[in-house]
Amino acid sequence: MNRVFSLLLILLPVLILIIYGKILLTSQEDVTAVYDPKPIPQFQLLTLQGQEILPTEFDGISLLNVWASWCITCLVEHPFLTKLSQNNINLIGLNYKDSKSNAQQWLKKRGDPYKFSIHDPRGDLAFDLGVTGAPETFLVANQEIIGHIQGELNQEKWESIFVPLIRSIEAQNP
């Protein structure tokens, strides 16, 4: 028993050192996730305003952005999302593990870039989508998810990941 503890006392810190060393070294790199298209999961949720959501809302090209009022990175990407919505990008919010009043206050205070936000207080839809935290953004084309970004959506990721996907979709359906 003592042997095990002794070994752990040394191995655990070494492991943590290696992990953090790797994090430091790779913190500059950026890897794009490949995504297989799949349909949006079925869900029974309402918008923050309490309205029902039709599947036709996801026709054409739209972005589904997972956000929450407690999420600091969401605040960071908010100006960029606002810019996207001003450029007529169909932006739909998925309000994740949040209270309705906090979410509404947040939108009121910062501005609402979303066409509407789906209220998902327990993270049901988010779970089905495979969300690991906020923020995350899904690219949806004709009710099918074709792209996925975890973390902050910014100009760089938008251009390097989502724009090529949108171009290829537009090339298929002229």
């Binding site: 040394i10 050192l17 060393g21 994090i23 430091l24 890897v31 996730a33 407690w70």
Partner: protein, 631 residues
């Protein structure tokens, strides 16, 4: 010229420290000589003294606006009051690292000279401290030199300190926090020396008890000040954001709290020895981990400094090096450390050891919360926030179980078990009163939130059990540990206030023209935007609004401000707060809209002051314990 002298002094200090290490390595091959420790001690004192002089010179240079020094030119300004010229030293990486090292040196030199020459652990402690100071001094000189000059021409004017940092609470928050963080270098070095020494009958606990308690007080005050500053300066209305940097401050605090308790148990009854040694090492390790997180640039936060990976690598490498030295000796000595005494179930130390496990769980959960997004980011370059839902969900059950053990241990005895029947009798009234309290709050507020009520119940359990204990001690004229009473009631009050704050507080956004007024709700029937003034101050422009409002039949005037600082062009918002016994009326002014009206954010925050008060109570309780021991 002065800055070169200051630079030279720190280099000399590093050389002396290196000399101490060489001397002792050299002498370890020769016959031991009594003068060896005397000489090392003298050299050590001199090295420390040089660092203090160097820092003193640096403070002077900052005060007289020597903008030929890159760091001062980048972080200070001639328009600043002298107080902020000095505090600007710790507003960014290089200077704050310098301050950190000064405190490290201060604690070290005090402790080394506190140990008598004949003390068996003096040499080991001194060498460990020498190694640590040297490591960080080299880090400062090699990767983050605060003495660099702008050559050949000095800057005409400084770039100014970040305006949100021009605040008294923030000026003293880093020094307090650093004093707490690095204070635990003492337990770290002393324990390492003890483990190397190898005579485990030596009663080491008494030598560092007071030192650890003092460091704990600084850490507590430092964290509280940071939280207080965030509340009234950032204007978000919150006091704790589970920001990674807050988390890395909380981890050493939890470890230090567990350590304090284990140290009592270890010195009173000789149990929990391995726990105590382990925790004593971990506090400083976690502090170093915090320094690494803040200074390596792997996270984005209010606190993070601009930085380069070289610094991160050095910090990680050096912290890892000294931590592994300490843990390796601990691992090596583990078989010899087996205490002959077993922990009796139901005794005070059995509850303490349960709470140690809970605190370690809490530390690990926070560690996971900090690390997981970083791992994810390094794997696929993506950022996620792990926010309050994660921490609230994890912490509320932990807090409840901790409170139950705390309540049970209150009548516990050292080394003797408690009969279950007696335990029931002692906790039944507490359970009843606390349950009643929770029901009362629910009945009164009609708000339900499981997490918040778990917190309220935990708080009440602690407060009620200690109150009942006080009453019975006063009645029977039995012994009452007043310091412990105060500290624990403080903790109970902290749980209670945080939970009450979370269910009662609310926010309203208001949009008004000058002269306009509005009804907010039944408690605030009038909210009037009376006046708006533009004022010029020494280094910023001010837009000051005058608001008249009636809250709970009381007339209140509030003056929220917006400031624009000349040097950086940064705009900050100064919150206006009216505090009453239970709640704060907290008002910030936002932007002017296109139609000329102004936006306000009105927050009614309940029990916020109580949170600071509870922290102060905890610190006061521990201070009382220290003074009582002295007398």
């Amino acid at each position: 010229m002065l800055v070169e002298i200051a630079h030279f002094l720190t280099v000399t200090s590093a050389v002396i420290l290196l000399l101490i290490l060489f001397l002792n390595v050299f002498f370890s091959f020769a016959k031991p000589h009594a003068n060896q420790i005397v000489l090392s001690n003298k050299l050590f004192n001199q090295a420390c003294f040089l660092i203090f002089i160097s820092f003193g010179l640096y403070v002077y240079l900052a005060a007289i606006d020597d903008f030929s020094i890159t760091y001062i030119a980048n972080h200070s300004n001639s328009q600043l009051p002298v107080f902020y010229k000095i505090t600007s030293i710790w507003s960014a990486h290089e200077g704050s690292m310098f301050l950190w090292i000064v405190f490290l040196t201060l604690w070290s030199v005090l402790f080394v000279n506190f140990l008598s020459l004949a003390h068996p652990l003096k040499k080991g402690t001194l060498l460990m401290l020498t190694l640590i100071i040297l490591g960080f001094l080299l880090f400062l000189l090699v990767t983050s030199n605060p003495f660099d000059r702008i050559l050949p021409f000095a800057a005409g004017e400084g770039a100014d300190i970040n305006p949100v940092l021009q605040d008294p609470a923030l000026a003293i928050h880093p020094p307090m926090l650093y004093l707490g963080y690095v204070g635990f270098v003492i337990s770290f070095s002393f324990i390492t020396a003890y483990l190397f020494y190898g005579d485990f009958n030596y009663p080491w606990e008494k030598d560092i008890q007071t030192w650890s308690l003092v460091a704990w007080i600084f850490l507590t005050i430092g964290i509280t000040l940071g939280s207080w500053w965030a509340y009234y300066e950032l204007g978000w209305g919150g006091y704790w954001f589970w920001d990674p940097v807050e988390n890395v401050a909380l981890m050493p605090w939890l470890a230090a709290t567990a350590f304090m308790h284990s140290l009592f148990a270890s010195s009173k009854s000789g149990v929990l020895k391995t726990w105590t040694l382990f925790l004593g090492i971990m506090i400083f390790t976690l502090s170093l981990f915090g320094a690494f997180i803040v200074r390596s640039g792997i996270i984005d936060s209010v606190h993070s400094f601009a930085n380069d990976p070289q610094r991160g690598m050095y910090l990680l490498g050096f912290s890892g090096f000294i931590t592994i030295i300490a843990l390796a000796v601990l691992a090596y000595r583990l078989p010899q450390l087996q205490s002959s005494k077993l922990i009796v179930a139901g005794s005070k130390e059995s509850f303490l050891s349960m709470n140690n496990i809970l605190m370690l769980t809490a530390i690990f959960s926070i560690f996971l919360g900090v690390t997981y997004p970083l791992i994810l980011e390094s794997l696929n370059g993506n950022k996620v926030s792990i926010g309050p839902p994660y921490y609230n969900t994890i912490f509320s059950p932990l807090i409840l179980i901790t409170s139950i053990f705390m309540m049970a241990s209150i009548d516990g005895l050292w080394q003797r078990g408690m009969q279950l029947r007696k335990l029931y009798i002692s906790i039944a009234p507490t359970l009843f009163v606390s349950g009643l309290g929770v029901y009362g709050i629910w009945h009164f507020t009609q708000i339900f939130s499981i997490l918040a009520y778990v917190g309220i119940l935990s708080g009440l359990l602690i407060i009620v059990s200690y109150s009942l204990k006080t009453v019975s001690a006063l009645r029977d004229k039995t012994y009452l540990n007043k310091g412990s009473l105060l500290a624990h009631v403080g903790l109970g009050l902290l749980f209670f206030s945080i939970s009450m704050n979370s269910i009662l507080s609310y926010q309203k956004n208001i949009n008004l023209f000058v002269g306009g007024e509005q009804v907010i709700n039944s408690k605030i029937p009038q909210f009037q935007f009376a006046d708006l003034q533009k004022i010029k101050a020494s280094n910023h422009d001010v837009i000051s609004a005058t608001i008249f409002l009636i809250h709970d039949d009381k007339p209140i005037y509030l003056n929220p401000e917006k400031r624009k600082y000349f040097a950086r062009g940064q705009i900050t918002s100064e919150t206006a707060i009216h505090a009453s016994f239970l709640k704060d009326t907290y008002l910030t002014i936002g932007d002017q809209l296109e139609d000329g009206s102004w936006t306000f954010s009105l927050q009614i925050n309940y029990f916020v002051k109580w949170i600071w008060f509870s922290s102060a109570l905890m610190a006061a309780g521990i201070a009382m314990t220290i003074f009582k021991k002295k007398i």
